[in-house]
């Protein structure tokens, strides 16, 4: 039987390059939505683009899709320079936040649209008349078979003849995914596909999307504002803010080794603790006169510590307890650093003794995991992490 779903010759070779964005810039009036952004997604790779609302991540995705054009810069997909091409000619598939299903078509017809648009001529798609064009029946049959296959892989078999309004949010989302994978695109773009699902379904669908990505193997760019999605799903995470990509790295590196204070504060929940610090002429880092045992080049600094990298100690940074939150697997302790009044959060083991609210305490830090940033927010390398204390510093 004639089947059109095999990739055309040469496509395997072209796929090698995935998505490459070079110096893409986009301005809306005075606002620079994209500021010379460069990013590449290898074939088979899953890159999550994460950032707060309005940081330009959706604009970047739309520029890649061809829905919007960049003022300058180049986009390459599957080895082709697609900068000047229309969205229809870019061989990308996209899943939209609202799913963007055609409400008047059944699930089956929705999934068939990208195939019909590509495999049938304008005349063959013409209502009624098209059925009598030579070759239409054969191609329609091939499209129908591909639709059933794509829908089957997403468990949509029973629902194919329903319209979007008759489907639940999760089912609509699968139809949108099926419509995207049915034509084996060179690049797969997803714009916050989970944000319209309820929390339980979101966690389940997260896994399914990763699974689909493994099967399809296309370069995937996934836009989200939810760091949990980015960290759990992606091979690499790109953190974006104010039109710039701050860091692209593996989820572990983004969390443990952020190169920018904005990355450190954006990723991680609860938010990373930050304290104003200073390195004296000898390079000793102090917080409000209390030495931390860290060494850095002299100057003003920001000391950043994850909630799990602080702990109660007999001496150290003075603080006052404000309240406790029991989370089951851990206890969050909210406190205030007494000299600077900075808010601090600690993650304690549920078995550990807990101080009372209002109690004065002292905190020690884990020097191996302490992060230092300079006045511009750039990561500062420690000159000697463990100059004074072998492990936890009690000062």
């Amino acid at each position: 039987m004639l089947r059109c779903d095999n990739p055309p010759p040469g496509e395997g070779l072209l796929r090698v390059t995935g998505i490459v964005i070079e110096q893409a810039t986009r301005r809306f009036g005075n606002v620079t939505a994209l500021d010379a952004v460069s990013l590449s997604v290898a074939p088979g790779e899953f890159v999550a683009l994460v950032g707060p609302s309005g940081c330009g991540k959706t604009t970047l995705m739309r520029v890649v899709a061809g829905i919007e054009s960049a003022d300058s810069g180049r986009i390459r997909i599957g080895g082709r320079d697609v900068t000047g091409l229309r969205a229809a000619d870019r061989n990308v598939a996209m899943v939209f936040q609202s799913y963007a299903l055609y409400p008047h078509l059944t699930a089956r017809e929705n999934i068939a649209v990208p195939l019909a648009m590509r495999r049938l001529s304008g005349w063959q798609r013409f209502p009624l008349l098209g059925r009598f064009m030579p070759g239409t029946a054969l191609r329609r049959a091939a499209i129908a078979a591909d639709v059933v296959q794509a829908a089957g892989s997403l468990g949509l078999g029973e629902l194919l003849d329903r319209r979007p309004a008759q489907l639940s949010g999760g089912q609509r989302q699968r139809v949108a995914l099926a419509r995207a994978i049915v034509r084996h695109p060179a690049a797969f773009l997803m714009d916050e596909p989970l944000s319209n699902l309820d929390a339980a379904l979101r966690v389940q669908t997260r896994r399914e999307i990763v699974e689909i990505h493994r099967r399809v193997g296309a370069a995937t760019l996934y836009v989200t504002h939810d760091q949990a999605e980015a960290l759990t799903m992606a091979d690499r995470v790109a953190v974006m803010q104010a039109g710039r990509i701050l860091q692209v790295a593996s989820p572990e590196a983004i969390y443990l080794d952020p190169q920018d204070l904005r990355v450190a504060t954006f990723i991680g929940s609860p938010r990373i603790n930050t304290l104003d610090a200073i390195a004296d002429t000898a390079g000793r880092v102090e917080v409000s006169g209390v030495p931390t045992g860290l060494q850095a080049r002299p100057g003003p600094l920001t000391l950043a510590l994850r909630p799990e990298d602080l702990r109660l100690a007999p001496a150290g940074l003075p603080a006052r307890v404000e309240g406790l939150e029991f989370l089951g697997d851990s206890v969050l302790m909210h406190a205030r650093h007494t000299p600077s009044d900075a808010a601090l959060v600690l993650r304690l083991s549920p078995e550990a003794p807990r101080p009372e609210a209002g109690e004065g305490i002292h905190l020690a830090l884990d020097p191996a995991r302490a992060l230092l940033f300079d006045a511009a927010g750039r990561r500062v390398t420690l000159l000697d992490r463990i100059a004074h204390a072998p492990e936890w510093t009690h000062v």
Binding site: R62, A88, H104, V113
Partner: protein, 305 residues
């Protein structure tokens, strides 16, 4: 235990009060509806079965007499036919042109407000006043249209409003001009309600051409709007009266006689209110029939619930 049940506050009390207040609040609207709509309609229905003439002392119940007369009345038959032709021309043309104007304005970058206003102007202007302008425009000797046709070399341009071949077409053209702006505004509202993401999805899915995107997204999603526009335009054009009354009085030789004008003449010129009421009932039946047909036949096909 029985104490606590007895002590439970009577919870239905405020609800009754609320329902009563609600009912009271609907009274003004209810009275208006009754006086302005239901009673006149009932009176018309009753009148249609009498031979009542304004100024005569009594009247007699004549059953279906008026309707029998209608069937044999050549003037009514012409008016009915003309009204159907008028609606058949004005509704499709003004809908298509209104849709076209809306699509062009929506796609345009500059001058949206200007074009909206220009096309909407006929809707807000007074038809009777505008009819005078049309009378001048279409005047056989001094009218600019025929002057223009003569410069093109046409020796005997048509008498637009006084030739029985042309008069209905001329009135239809004015009807289209009157309705396009209204339909355009409705279509513009319908177009802005289409989610932009759907157009983007169509683009990514491979709909390259304008026509592909129109067929895949715009036209189906305009379905409910189009149904509404169709209903409204048919009702608006079936009601054609003022242009006929001002420009032609149904002439020449009943060539532009329409239902409402016939009704008006029977009722207010010949004072045959019973007969006129029968014509009104025919008109009412046509309007209700159209609305029923459109909602029954098409509603299910344009709402994708």
């Amino acid at each position: 235990m029985s104490d606590s049940i007895a002590a439970a506050p009577p919870r239905h009390r405020p609800l009754v009060g609320e329902a009563l207040a609600g009912l009271l609040l609907t009274v003004p609207a209810g009275i208006a509806y009754l006086l302005m709509l239901l009673l006149p309609t009932a009176a018309t229905i009753l009148l249609a079965f009498t031979d009542y003439e304004l100024g005569l002392p009594g009247f007699a119940w004549i059953g279906l007499g008026n309707f029998e007369e209608l069937l044999e009345d050549r003037g009514f038959a012409i008016a009915f036919r003309n009204t159907v032709i008028y609606v058949g021309l004005v509704a499709p043309l003004s809908i298509l042109l209104g849709l076209g104007a809306a699509l062009l304005i929506e796609a345009g970058i500059r001058g949206r407000a200007l074009f909206r206003a220009v096309f909407f102007l006929p809707v807000v202007s007074l038809t009777v006043a505008m009819a005078a302008a049309w009378q001048y425009l279409l005047h056989p000797t001094i009218g600019p249209l025929n002057a223009f046709l003569r410069t093109l070399g046409m020796t005997a341009p048509p008498f637009w409003l006084s030739s029985s071949d042309w008069v209905l077409l001329s009135l239809s053209a004015i009807g289209v001009w009157e309705n396009v702006g209204y339909n355009m505004v409705l279509f513009l509202a319908g177009l802005t309600a289409i989610p932009r993401e759907l157009h983007h999805a169509a683009e990514v899915d491979g709909a390259r051409g304008w026509l592909d995107r129109f067929r895949l997204v715009t036209w189906p999603l305009l379905g409910p709007t189009t149904l509404f526009v169709l209903t409204i335009t048919m009702i608006r054009s079936i009601r054609v009266f003022d242009t006929v009354a001002v420009l032609t009085q149904g002439g020449p030789n009943k060539a532009s006689e329409v239902l409402l004008h016939t009704m008006y003449k029977e009722g207010f010129t010949f004072l045959r209110l019973g007969y006129s009421a029968a014509i009104t009932l025919v008109f009412l039946a046509m309007v209700l029939g159209l609305v029923w047909l459109q909602t029954k036949a098409l509603d299910k096909r344009v709402h994708y619930g």
